[in-house]
Symmetry: C2
Subunit: 637 residues, 2 copies
Amino acid sequence: MTEVKQYQGRDYDVIVVGAGHAGSEAALAAARMGNRTLLMTINLDMVAFMPCNPSVGGPAKGIVVREIDALGGEMGRNIDKTYVQMRMLNTGKGPAVRALRAQADKHAYHSEMKHTIEREPNLTLRQGIVDGLIVEDGVCKGVITNTGAHYRAKSVVLTTGTAARGKIIIGELMYSSGPNNSQPAMKLSGDLERLGFKLERFKTGTPPRVDGNTIDYSVTEEQPGDPEPHHFSFETKDEDYLDLKHQLSCWLTYTNETTHKIIRENLDRAPMFTGVIEGVGPRYCPSIEDKIVRFADKKRHQLFLEPEGRNTDEWYVQGLSTSMPEEVQQRILHSIKGLEDAEMMRPGYAIEYDVVAPYQLKATLETKLIKNLYTAGQTNGTSGYEEAAGQGLMAGINAGLRALDRGQFTLKRSDAYIGVMIDDLVTKGTNEPYRLLTSRAEYRLILRHDNADLRLTDKGHELGLIDDDRYAAFEAKRQAIKDELDRLGKIRIKPNDDVNAFLRAHNSGELKDGVLAADFLKRPEVRYADLMKFIPAAPEPLERHIIEQVEIQIKYAGYIEKAEERVERLKKMEAKKIPDRIDYDAIDGLATEAHQKLKKIQPTTIAQASRISGVNPADIAILSVYIQQGRIAKVKD
Amino acid sequence: MTEVKQYQGRDYDVIVVGAGHAGSEAALAAARMGNRTLLMTINLDMVAFMPCNPSVGGPAKGIVVREIDALGGEMGRNIDKTYVQMRMLNTGKGPAVRALRAQADKHAYHSEMKHTIEREPNLTLRQGIVDGLIVEDGVCKGVITNTGAHYRAKSVVLTTGTAARGKIIIGELMYSSGPNNSQPAMKLSGDLERLGFKLERFKTGTPPRVDGNTIDYSVTEEQPGDPEPHHFSFETKDEDYLDLKHQLSCWLTYTNETTHKIIRENLDRAPMFTGVIEGVGPRYCPSIEDKIVRFADKKRHQLFLEPEGRNTDEWYVQGLSTSMPEEVQQRILHSIKGLEDAEMMRPGYAIEYDVVAPYQLKATLETKLIKNLYTAGQTNGTSGYEEAAGQGLMAGINAGLRALDRGQFTLKRSDAYIGVMIDDLVTKGTNEPYRLLTSRAEYRLILRHDNADLRLTDKGHELGLIDDDRYAAFEAKRQAIKDELDRLGKIRIKPNDDVNAFLRAHNSGELKDGVLAADFLKRPEVRYADLMKFIPAAPEPLERHIIEQVEIQIKYAGYIEKAEERVERLKKMEAKKIPDRIDYDAIDGLATEAHQKLKKIQPTTIAQASRISGVNPADIAILSVYIQQGRIAKVKD
Ligand SMILES: Cc1cc2nc3c(=O)[nH]c(=O)nc-3n(C[C@H](O)[C@H](O)[C@H](O)COP(=O)(O)OP(=O)(O)OC[C@H]3O[C@@H](n4cnc5c(N)ncnc54)[C@H](O)[C@@H]3O)c2cc1C
Ligand SMILES: Cc1cc2nc3c(=O)[nH]c(=O)nc-3n(C[C@H](O)[C@H](O)[C@H](O)COP(=O)(O)OP(=O)(O)OC[C@H]3O[C@@H](n4cnc5c(N)ncnc54)[C@H](O)[C@@H]3O)c2cc1C
């Protein structure tokens, strides 16, 4: 066989490898910041493809989508154009845990994103496989494709997902493959290893798909969407919300003892347990066989039947991810209420793939080893579309800034879930596919669904990703909230019959003295609309999101203030920088584990150092003193 | 690695392998005839996928689509639901060469067909790869999949397209792959060889796709659709036709001397010419490098820029199929007017694949070697969606009839283009990808676009593929045509001032005596609408397709009659059956070549024998006499 002849392609500012959820955001961000950007991906028919659940959002993840939107990313707009059902979760609970979740039309999600990318002026989308990197003197200068093209660029983002040396496993069957039987990327991993990167092997899995015409919905529980409008993007208008007639329902069913028995009896054929699967799987999206083993006394597990789109009868069985043999999958399905006669259209499978262990990254998602090289998404050891998109956006921004010769951009743990996630990854690493959970955030009350724009739009605008019109609208909204808060902080409500009758009816203590409108609204029983019965309306009619903000900010003011105090304290710690290339060997007294971890992770601030597991307060004290004292030993380059 | 454990799946009546254009028709037909049918295919996202041109129809092919529709197949309905442009070709010429052609929304075409299949009650669509056949005593009993499933059935249809041991080639780059980088089927071919089939190696190719945002349309020629309604399906209504505002245009440009120079200078890197490509390519869809070499003195070649769909900016460059290296493809593109700055989104490529040499088939598309096993489509050595669909329908019908224990179904050369194609394949074989051309049909004036329903609806109804409602509507139409023909054969037009003024104005000889309305309409200058000025209208208003039929049948009556006489003569020859298992070794006097060919092809009638190339009239005479004389020697089974 002849060698593939190499040739010089044209130059770009930024190159993004892989057009999954991470790569799509990365490329759009870099291009929108004014960089001539190339997005290379294995198959154009799989741009922003969802290999697993046809849905976006949910706890923590949904908030990431809002953050992406506030920073000028695409995921929120894209799902708002292509959902088939929209539902706000946890509406009964506090605003910190509210989360939006949408069922997507999987194909439409892909094709809308692809079309958006195609229309982006600075962006070229091209099919091809990147086999290697051009690296000169420790600096990444471009990529080399399987067709022999050498493309040079100022910075490169890798978002290769589950395709890197991908291997699909279904029972005893095993073969090289990317997700959904796509081509895997077999060579790039080797090049990364050659460059000195440490790769790990993770795995994830997906459930079987069934023919909706063969489901007996009547014995399952309907899960309809919400009638009142919700959107992921701050730009989507209420009038574009689909009424319930145009939304599709999901359906709830359960596994049962028979299901569990079938699984238990076939554990000797489960690749998860026979040693066939070497990759580490996601703890928070376990396969059904894993759940049966780990929660042996649970009598049943929830399963949601979710449509894969409008123009298809394929249904996704959420909760039934598995790599059991096809035959066993079929028997599992048929043991489930509503699925007794279900035809399986595609079997579930597990996929193993290569991951760049994320301690090798800076908080900017640039690799420590190779300058101007960034990685994002599943490649960094995460799991989930939203996690990938959030990282992709950040890596694209930083690669874009690098190409423009501007400073880098990071988000703190108190700025955004995206900040929490990236800090977790680069500080703690992960030894299993990492998923965002609300419990990972220490400032949950600040990192809310409803205030993502207030938290991040300034930054998005400064980066050039939020245009002036949108920014002006945002500023008007912010001002309106402030004005109304001020107003309510000044108006007094006097006790009178109306007010007290209202309070009695709502089991709230009667007023004896006058109170500020703001304090009146603080009462859990009082809504903003109630308050308006007793005081004059705002000078301009207020939009519902402004009212929502005013309510939340007043009702939760105490908690929010406390959280903000903690953030302030943290900021001081974050301000204590650890000098570059500090030589930990020269610091006396560090515990052995702390010494090793600090060398490996190379935190950039004392705050980050303190979050590394195995680094104790005593170590932090030693390190702080060492740095304060000022004579820092450095390692050679 | 563990062996994949085998298991018994449920039984079916008919199994179809491969859901391309052939497999989709085959499975729908078998299921609609009342057979419990399984359709297995490698990737559900590629059901009825168009790996090459985003269009359906054109000369001969368009007529096949009408024939498929008249027999109750799906292709016509499917393209009528998903076209982006519709155009009747050759409207200036006679009705025999008129042909409808549609640009398809490629993705919509796929997803509509998939959805239709999903909703078909007797039909199960499942993802999986068939690795082998279950054959017992020379009879096919089912299939075996890569996941170890054994599905048994009464008959099996193979429609594996270009996936069988597929290999993609782009310049020096070469890798195992199905079309569009899908998974190839690596094992089934080996099983066919083991069973004794002779496989051949063919190749086909596709052009690069470019980003429509980077095309300069202003220097190309617009090719809009037709404003007046046309449909592929006899069931589609005029009111559903898209007006021009909702159709997309194509654009015409040309190669030039620079293009040709680039190609000539790089012929040493063209896999077509360096011996890398071993498969035989399609003469009638040559690659651009092939055209430059074969038509060295042609100054330019037409290129049509065709949209790949509504929600994508990918454009197909018709006429530029190539397997040149990516770099050269890019230079070729940039040499073309309008494409100077075009961004290539996917490179063109060639693909090599295995073909079942079609002389191994009966006219029913059953294999001669293995009973109850049928093959159809690209697998049989053809090229083109329509050719595939036509065969798929026939194979599905026959597999369905077999499962129902009913007699087989064939079409004669005088019945349909489908009949011409299958007779060509099984009688002459093909040593290159076979494409239907009008020149292959000897009864072109009978096998028209406009009369496919008149030719075939009876048969479709008898097969159970045309329901009673549609059949009743068809019969009413047929009757209306007959009534109007009868009426025009009786009414006389007398010479008068009006008539003769009209004739003078249209440069037609004046009437001296009265003539029959039918004869008046025979004049080339007279249209049916003109005639109606001089005679009373039909008792019921006539639909435009009825009028069209009346016009064509009257105007071309002479030619049509002659063709029908030839058909009658042929029928007599077709009636002369050649007995099964006749022993050609026992017939004296046959020329050596004729003897070999007759043994290989095993024609079933004297007519078919006479069409075998290398079998001369003298041989036919000997064979006829031998059969008439009645004592036939048979070969042992
Ligand atoms: C079977 C399966 C099950 C999953 N189950 C879950 C789940 O239960 N829960 C969950 O949260 N997440 C799940 N995921 C993960 C989720 O799909 C990913 O987290 C998400 O898609 C990651 O986005 P990404 O952009 O990082 O990677 P991807 O979406 O995988 O995109 C990567 C892209 O890069 C391209 N690419 C790779 N290598 C190259 C190269 N060398 N050159 C050019 N292009 C390249 C690929 O073709 C692909 O388009 C699952 C994934 C799979 C495959
Ligand atoms: C690159 C390319 C260029 C082409 N160019 C032209 C052209 O210029 N002009 C033209 O007329 N035609 C062209 N064609 C051919 C045209 O695409 C085919 O003629 C048409 O698609 C054939 O339909 P089919 O149903 O026979 O096969 P396909 O459409 O190929 O469908 C076959 C199906 O079978 C499935 N399959 C295969 N093996 C197995 C198995 N073992 N188990 C389960 N499923 C299996 C495949 O996945 C596929 O879905 C081209 C095709 C390709 C790939």
